[in-house]
């Protein structure tokens, strides 16, 4: 109608529509005042802060389906934020330098994979899975926080990227962490991270070695290794040689990227 009055040029104002689901009570049914299962956001925010609330609401289910509120989940998100904050403080306190520490390449790849997942998920309104991806990166960094990796540029890249990806979901704490890392205000106007597709795959892959169908060893090989190269490496394993007991292999079954079974 407004188009026909000459005020608009388009026909349909809304090119893309997404509907949210419903938040339910902890029992999984609609929240009810009479049953006392309504959740009041204000005291929760006063206690836990806005970002924990934001993360919990986005994480408890696919956004278009909703899900039940749960206090454990809320506390879980607060602990997640705390872990990220601790990683940032560690990073801020640790000067970094170039090095070829083992594991540096792997953490870079892990980070690029995370950038890709979070970006794709946010674009598709999959708010819960983008948080899952950031939790995984966080857990990986926690696992490595007592190693030399912490002193590398690659580590700093991973932590900085984590903060950057977290900002839309946890804007206050992310802004604080961005400042702690010494970056220019504001994280919310900083360019969104991009990823290198080639870096989203693992350079190395683990192969299980079996002798006559029984698992005997594991090796790490480049992910583009040929069958011959993998076989050679497998045959070099002491344990494999021990179980073959001098016999030569009759047959080799190779599943690329997964396992090699030496029959003999």
């Amino acid at each position: 109608m407004l188009r026909d009055f000459g005020l608009l040029e388009h026909d349909e104002p809304c090119a893309r529509l997404r509907n949210q689901g419903m938040i339910l009570s902890e029992e999984g049914v609609k929240m009810s005042k009479s049953r006392g299962t309504q959740v009041d956001p204000d005291p929760i925010v006063a206690e836990h802060g806005a970002d924990t609330m934001r993360l919990h609401l986005m994480f408890l289910g696919p956004w278009d389906q909703g899900g039940p509120w749960n206090d454990r989940g809320l506390n879980g998100m607060e602990r997640f934020l705390r872990r990220v904050y601790d990683l940032v403080r560690l990073t801020a306190d640790t000067p970094s330098r170039d090095s070829t520490t083992q594991g540096a390449d792997a953490i870079v790849r892990f980070t690029h994979r995370t950038i890709k997942r979070v970006t794709t998920d946010l674009t598709e309104f999959q708010f819960n899975t983008q948080i899952a991806a950031m939790i995984e990166l966080t857990n990986e960094l926690m696992r490595l926080r007592d190693t030399d990796l912490v002193r590398t540029k690659e580590w700093r890249f991973a932590v900085t990227t984590l903060v950057s990806l977290l900002a839309p979901s946890a804007p206050h704490v992310a802004e604080e962490m961005w400042e702690m890392l010494g970056h220019e205000y504001s994280i919310h106007t900083a360019e969104w991270p991009s990823w290198d597709e080639a870096l989203t795959i693992d350079a190395m892959v683990e192969i299980a070695i079996q002798v006559n169908g029984k698992p005997r060893d594991r090796i790490s090989v480049p992910n583009d290794a040929t069958e011959d190269a993998v076989r050679e490496l497998a045959m070099a394993s002491e344990r494999v040689r021990a179980h073959l007991d001098g016999r030569s292999p009759k047959k080799v079954i190779y599943v690329p990227g997964r396992l090699i079974n030496i029959v003999g």
């Binding site: 005020l7 949210q20 934001r54 607060e78 704490v173 802004e175 604080e176």
Partner: protein, 537 residues
């Protein structure tokens, strides 16, 4: 007082509230989330529905909002000039009912609620441009509701008509079909509602029905929402046939199966059909009056029920019509399973092909004629059938179309009807025009003046906005509170200068909600709802 560092060390937890406050203050001071009209970056408009200012944001508001806020922040960093606005749907029944309970004027409570909720959005970490806030009860906003109404009136898209409308005795107001649940329950307060005749303002939205359906093919929306919209509009293609009564009165009938007209052995009118009164013969008068009165008490859902235990009810008018394709004389009945709202309120009954018509014919001893050879093995002879036949088949006893296959033959039947002057192709809709009048106070006044000499007079553009007086008595008395407000009511007619009275109805708040997202783009415009240049791209 514990400092943030101490608290952190004591509890091992982040002092999130201190962090929240620090950055909210900084963002506000820097106006970080302002969206310029012009930018080198590509524009991206992300709209989340605006809330009723009920007073507090509850967890459902949070859930609906935080994800879109994260998305807006994400898009900004991807290099878009993001518009992520917020406002308040401030008029309407909820605000008025809440005000009645707490004895505080809707204007006062509404603005207080808005201020509180705005702060709550800020505490969420919302990245909203508050300079573009829209509040629908501001005269600066509803001025343009009135302006749009006048443009619609000029084009015949807004009109006044008498209609049978739903009345809620508790809220003391008229409701649109969409606001009545389960046949006869008020969506807002749960009271039982009934039908009443009133002169009302309507918007001719049905003129846009086809465009709206076609538009669904151009948008990326969830499929179930599109289906809901298609069903709501309910477009169906068929034909319009004219049956004449013996006395020569024409009765228009809409049907999606014009190929079955050779099987029409009687006609049925809705109890509210305008011809009922004229057609009913003297001997049938008493029975018909009683039946019509009973039917008006029932809801549409009850009347449309296919529940077999519900007895078929109807009454003969005493009059006859002529079937236009074979000149047969067929009786005219009245039954409540025919609704006035769909099609023309009159149907040609084809008991062989329609189950309700079949049951009706059996119940009242009316003839059933076979017009199709069934392809499912069931008997052709109506005497041997226990139910109607809906499927495809070769037509029999169907004039020039005997021997042809139905339903593929329908378009040819329509062509034949048009050529013979007995009917034409036609489209029908479930959608009805929108009833926009409300007999409440807290809404946009209609910019209309009633003058004894000039009739219905629109308020001139330069006299807008017609302001809602803030000193009106808003307790429900059975009438619109504006009816008793003399200062508001009495006005001189803009055309002749004689005494006039303002329209006392106010607009349904869907008027506010139907264009507010454009106002965010140009919220301070004093000359127009918005500048078209600002809406482009």
């Amino acid at each position: 007082m514990a400092s943030p560092i101490n608290r952190e060390q004591e509890t091992g937890r982040l002092d999130a509230t201190a962090i929240d406050a620090k950055w909210q203050a900084r963002w506000a001071a820097d106006e970080l989330y302002r969206t310029p009209d012009e930018s080198d970056k590509p524009n991206w408009y992300s709209l989340t529905m605006y809330p009723y200012p009920s007073g507090i944001l509850h967890v459902g508001h949070w859930y609906a909002f935080v994800a879109p806020d994260a998305f807006a922040r994400f898009k900004r960093r991807q290099g878009f000039n993001v518009l992520f606005p917020m406002g308040f749907d401030a008029f309407g029944l909820p605000a008025e009912n809440a005000a009645i309970k707490s004895n505080v004027h809707p204007s006062k409570s509404t603005y207080q609620n808005i201020e509180h909720m705005r702060k709550q959005y800020v505490h969420m970490g919302a990245s909203i441009d508050w300079e573009r806030q829209v509040i629908t009860c501001d005269p600066d906003y509803y001025h343009w509701n009135q302006w749009i109404f006048l443009r619609m009136l000029e084009r015949g898209l807004a009109y006044r008509a008498k209609g049978s409308v739903w009345w809620c005795p508790n809220d003391q107001t008229v409701l649109a079909n969409e606001q009545v649940l389960d046949g006869s329950i008020c969506e807002r307060c749960g009271a039982e509602v009934y039908k009443r005749d009133l002169e009302q303002w309507y918007f001719g939205i049905t003129k846009y029905a086809d465009e709206l359906i076609d538009g669904l093919n151009t948008v990326d929306w969830p499929e179930r929402v599109k289906t809901m919209q298609r069903n709501w509009i309910g477009r169906s293609e068929g034909a319009l046939l004219v049956f004449r009564t013996e006395s020569g009165e024409p009765m228009e009938v809409f049907t999606t199966r014009p190929d079955t007209v050779w099987g029409a052995t009687f006609m049925v009118l809705a109890p509210e059909h305008p011809l009922v009164d004229r057609l009913t013969t003297a001997t049938q008068r008493a029975d018909v009056d009683r039946y019509v009165d009973l039917a008006r008490r029932k809801s549409e859902i009850e009347r449309m029920s296919t529940d077999e235990s519900r007895p078929k009810s109807g009454v003969f008018t005493g009059a006859y019509a002529i079937n236009p394709v074979n000149d047969e004389r067929i009786p005219i009945w009245i039954a409540d399973y025919v609704l006035m709202g769909y099609g023309t309120g009159a149907i040609m009954a084809v008991p062989y092909g329609d189950q309700r018509d079949f049951d009706f014919a059996r119940a009242f001893g009316l003839p059933i004629r076979a017009i199709i050879e069934p392809e499912d093995g069931s008997p052709v002879d109506p005497e041997e059938r226990s139910e109607a036949y809906h499927g495809p088949g070769t037509m029999i006893d169907s004039g020039p179309f005997t021997g042809q296959h139905s339903p593929e033959v329908v378009p040819q039947v329509v062509t034949w009807l048009e050529r013979e002057g007995r009917g034409r192709g036609e489209v029908s809709y479930r959608l009805r025009d929108w009833l926009i009048s409300r007999q409440r106070y807290w809404g946009t006044p209609f910019p209309i003046i009633y003058c004894q000499d000039c009739g219905i007079v629109p308020v001139p553009d330069e006299d807008l906005p017609v302001r809602l007086p803030l000193d009106a008595e808003f307790k429900p008395t059975g009438q619109s509170p504006l009816v008793s407000h003399e200062a508001f009511l009495n006005v001189t007619c803009p055309k002749c200068g004689g005494p006039g009275r303002r329209e006392t109805d106010t607009m349904d708040t869907f008027m506010d909600s139907s264009w507010y997202w454009y106002r965010y783009l140009d919220p301070h415009n004093e000359k127009a709802p918005f500048d078209p240049e600002k809406v482009k791209d």
